[in-house]
Amino acid sequence: MNFDFYPFYLSIKLAFIVTIILLILGIPYAWFLSTTKSKIKPFLESITALPIVLPPSVLGFYLLFFLSPNAYVGKIFYELFNIKLVFSFEGLVVASSIYSFPFMIQPIQGGFESINKNIIEASYLSGKGKLITLFKIILPNIKPSLLTAIVITFAHTIGEFGVVLMVGGSIPKKTEVASVAIYDYVENLEYPKAHIYSATLLIISFLVLLIVYYINHRKKIKSGIGY
């Protein structure tokens, strides 16, 4: 049986890029949410969670509208960067980022809200600005939440499918990620192949997660945190 590894490569690449992008966008946004005393906070929090509420295919349908070069958002991208956001890998990245946004924000915000404010103050009084404090003090001290956010986002982007299929259109070597490929095999009644692909996806994901958790486990034992 010919085994095509490319969809897996695409899936992992997609999940990786989306996780990185959402980390970069999510940390400041979550920080803003967790520190603002503004009354609009509950509104923003609720809106942040909304992308998960829509069924992925439906969200994908709307994204397809907004991201296509005929539409406003897609047009800007197209004209500024010459990137088409539909039926392209870049499009998958943007669409998955939107869909997975809440999965990244919420755990991080939870972490920020339960951190001991004293150590943040202590960092300022050590002469460090907000940025260094964020990276050296705050983020290391919310590691369980950060890990949750990264793992959920990564795993979810790997498994995501409705949005990806809609916006990407399963073009081989471009937007046909593993989840789409497996779906096609199931649809095609090629069950044995579907089983093998599913197992491969599970094993790869399991190994990635295992490494992440194992490193985390070791570090924690060393620093005596959490025991």
Binding site: A122, L125, S126, K136, I137, G224
Partner: protein, 326 residues
Amino acid sequence: MSYIHINVSKNLFGAQKNMKLEMEFNIEKNDFLAISGESGSGKTTLLRIIAGLEEANGEIRVGDEIWLSNTNLQTRDIVSCGKDKEKTRKRKGKDKDKDCNVFNGLWYKNRFLPPQKRKIGFVFQDFALFPNMNVLENLLYVQKDKKLANKLLEMVGMKNLSERYPNTLSGGQKQRIALCRALMRKPEILLLDEPFSALDEKRKEELQNEIYFFHKEFNLTTIMVSHSSTEIYKLADKMIEIKNGKIIKKGTPREILLKTRGSEKFSLKGRIIDIINTDIINIAVVSLGSHIVEIVISQKEAEKFKKNDEVIISTKAFHPNIKGIK
């Protein structure tokens, strides 16, 4: 002009309903100022306002830098602050320049220097060590000066523990690291919030000496919250005592603490903690601060006094005998 000028006010929840913290005082360069006062009187809050960790109204000036300026504007001054500035209070942390804001419905001129720009070292009452870093990393975070870090650790007797994480330290050990971390910044102003409370007496004395040395050596201006008169007398040149957010005494420790001043008699205030009657003699055990002495008393006195009485112990001799120990 004094080195530090402080004139601040802030509403707090006090022990008796709401309490307003209102203080005005000056500190000269290289002063060692002690702050005492009962629990909940606003000592920690004052330090936090000076450090910029807490909002307050009023003014703090250090040297020629304005750290906080938050004064109520006259109506005619408002001209330059447009309606759109209504939200500038939020931006306080960033803006060094003149700005305006609304607080309790009034307009204020606003300057606020963020904590990280104030050259201070702060020892927190609850230490606030970074749990993700070991002892040495906690110090090096402030400044990459390994030599200084090791020197400070040596000084507090914790050189051997430099690779331990804060979670595995005892209370006193944490307190010492917090002190070292504050000194790592080579601050101009050192703020200490009961920095010796968790230490045994021997260690306490050692550290007090070290702090005093640091204060002199590096020309620091130090503000220390403390409950112990000895500590204050020993270390401070000036002191203020506060109560319910207000200054009730101001002066040198000599003026405020020396209770026998002017008296020719050597006398100490104490409290009887025990009276022991043996067949032959009666002994009163009297606590004099952290000292405990036994004093032989007459039968009559033994009947007169009871446990917990406050007493003054004095001698008629003009010269108490004072003798060096080795």
